[in-house]
Symmetry: C3
Subunit: 345 residues, 3 copies
Amino acid sequence: MIFTVKEIADVIGGIVEGNPDAVITKFSKIEAGEEGGLSFLANTKYTPHIYTTKATAVLVSTEFVPTEPILTTLIRIEEPYVAFAKLMAFYNQKKGKTGVSKHAAIAEGVVWGKDVYIGDFVSIAENVVLGDNVKIYPHCYIAEGVRIGDNTVLNAGVTIHHECIIGNNCTLHAGAIIGADGFGFAPQKDNQYVKIPQLGNVIIEDNVDIGAQTCIDRSTLGSTIIHKGVKLCNFIQVAHNCEIGENTVMAAQCGISGSTKIGKNCVFGGQVGVNWHLTIGDNVQVGAQSAIGGHVKENATLLGTPAFKASDCIKSYAMFKYLPNYVARIEELEKEIKELKKEKE
Amino acid sequence: MIFTVKEIADVIGGIVEGNPDAVITKFSKIEAGEEGGLSFLANTKYTPHIYTTKATAVLVSTEFVPTEPILTTLIRIEEPYVAFAKLMAFYNQKKGKTGVSKHAAIAEGVVWGKDVYIGDFVSIAENVVLGDNVKIYPHCYIAEGVRIGDNTVLNAGVTIHHECIIGNNCTLHAGAIIGADGFGFAPQKDNQYVKIPQLGNVIIEDNVDIGAQTCIDRSTLGSTIIHKGVKLCNFIQVAHNCEIGENTVMAAQCGISGSTKIGKNCVFGGQVGVNWHLTIGDNVQVGAQSAIGGHVKENATLLGTPAFKASDCIKSYAMFKYLPNYVARIEELEKEIKELKKEKE
Amino acid sequence: MIFTVKEIADVIGGIVEGNPDAVITKFSKIEAGEEGGLSFLANTKYTPHIYTTKATAVLVSTEFVPTEPILTTLIRIEEPYVAFAKLMAFYNQKKGKTGVSKHAAIAEGVVWGKDVYIGDFVSIAENVVLGDNVKIYPHCYIAEGVRIGDNTVLNAGVTIHHECIIGNNCTLHAGAIIGADGFGFAPQKDNQYVKIPQLGNVIIEDNVDIGAQTCIDRSTLGSTIIHKGVKLCNFIQVAHNCEIGENTVMAAQCGISGSTKIGKNCVFGGQVGVNWHLTIGDNVQVGAQSAIGGHVKENATLLGTPAFKASDCIKSYAMFKYLPNYVARIEELEKEIKELKKEKE
């Protein structure tokens, strides 16, 4: 790519402070910026780099107030991270793959749209329906009756079990498994377990991203549902009969137990665990490694194992560190009381 | 399916309360029951729904005592969940797949029984032995010398490394990895590590279910052993040289470190971690996200990080929440003692 | 194998105590040693077995002082575990597989060295470069432009995304995923998220072991870097833009959030979580299930959620168990103070 700073500012609607004619040839990190590089400043941890970066231009917030001289050219814009992402996406937009590998195995009765790509060793079973512009990378397995919407991408080695439904504009990363049997066993009096058949499916709505290795299990009856706009990172376990609300985001290695319903616009840190049969409201924020043991009302911010109000939990954690000190003080108090009582006698 | 309530009650040995001639056409959830639907009530959380369900009939316990008028037909049976599962399994029992995909790669010397199914792009190495009615879905890899028992199902993308042994009536869910090398490295004086070859194998006994993505590592010498009837959910790590006792059940994302032996009939919540070289007795119950740091005697119920007696841990957790309050009270006591002492002077 | 004890001692430079002519035919565990077996004693937990083992010979430390009569033959050596590992590796060294499966799909422009093995249903995309003696097991997918160094082994079902670089002498276990997109989304004012393109790659240096299912995500810009000698167990999540220093070791199910840099020679227990944008120094040790929330200086030993100095954390944990006791003592103190004050009035 070769653009001037002014050309880029015009594309994203930014305002140039510095040399509008400087030439941009690549994207670069602010801390390791190079001549010709375009960077961005969004996280204040990186602010010191803006005074020393060798990047030719940097996207910054309209509200950024420098505290030292700036040597690079600034492009001011309301949301620099979003603008940077859009520029990268624009640049990254290569002509998508199309065509069907001669090494793929496609069953009878598969229906598909325009510009589909099917990679090597993909296996597609009977009565699968693929939308326009679906891209399926090598080693995916799409079982009977699955439907996949337009513009959805399945990276390598994704498995979609029978009768599951995937929406439009979704991305499933490598190794994701959709619709494996939920973990349902009925205990017997002789300590053995009898498997409960899992007869439902998984429904993933539009604009959902599913991380590498992540598993969404099929429901016992009805559907496990991932609503539109949800973003799940890698290694997440969503058990059978769960429902995850619109635009909720989870970091890696979270585990959601069976039949739990999570609201819209929630944000979960990594390695969070949630018990089963719970209802979590909208806009709930949960700190990493927390364990949710009960229902949660909307707008809560939780932390801890078991989780409670985050601001309270932080105080308790801070004191946990000094427990030996508090215990020593209790012992000292006991000694003093004893002395005071003795003196009285 | 079309059955009358009476026909279903007869199959499972239940007693009808209501209309024995009502027609059942599907399974349905109790809270979303539909005309023609058959539901069940096992978890008391769902009891309120039995008074409002639109399901035509509901399996309930022989001991269930309604507190409001019941509009649906009841089928009373000792274990409604188990009966429901059996009915679903009966219904779900489709003619199993058989035949060998023309896209599979089968090495020399493979021995197999009757009615085996081998899906697309399955790779089976030399000297593998497959029992009757084994079903191997697409993209599985079965390495040299593996033996798989009768009626065992390998879902898509399962890997079984060389010389491992899988019993009868097992189900391995998608992406499970059996017999990868255990994590054994000997530290050197220059801070590098030398790999310890892992020369053992994994033995999985009969009636075991292994969840999606779950890994059971091969032992250094001898065998990592999963005893009969064990049920492991998704994303579980069982390290080398472990042994898991009969009918033990683990929820998703548990991690068992090397050389630990776990007893029979244990129940582990999700995300539990267990240290290495430990012995856990029979009938042990462990709460989710707990960390087991030492040996555990039989019949223990544990919780916490590190785990101790669950009933005690719950008390400590409850107080943890109020640590700031206790610390304030210590400070208050200190002030009062100081005053009392001052007054004395 | 058939060797005398003396022959084995000579190979590893050990000193025989007992019968140098005894014949060794296999490796065996010290607790289950058999006639003809060679075992080792490294972990003191196993010391009692040395007095009862039926193994013909046992590798022990030069410093081992028996407290009971020894019936087996000893081979004394400075590091018995390492010596045992070397012997096993020597024995395990089968002629490596070579050749290209007729069921593999190799694109144009792939360059490779001598003695490469490509298993069934491996898909290799354009412009991949493979070194000498690279072994790629079934169902691996190697995307465009990947480079893999000499003697590196990819077990079954490994995915390496485009432009990633793998060093020499690495082992990637089954199901590992290298270079999936990092989890980067920019929140919008309407609560939706816009994906940030992940334009970087992953660089894995020499002598690295990557566990089964483990994911190393590609960076947004630049590289996620795993330095030489790192050993990662199964189910580990390394997010985008991370860097892990030389010879650092992590047990299963750890999760490292984006842009965190970890030093050399660190040791992490299982299920550890690390927050993003952190710097962890060299030689840091972290106990299992800990959560690292801030920067960590070199040589620290940490434990807890959130983690602090391990020796302090152990004390706090010990007291956590007795919180109800301390609270009761505070209540008792309050009562006594009240009485003392009352008496004064």
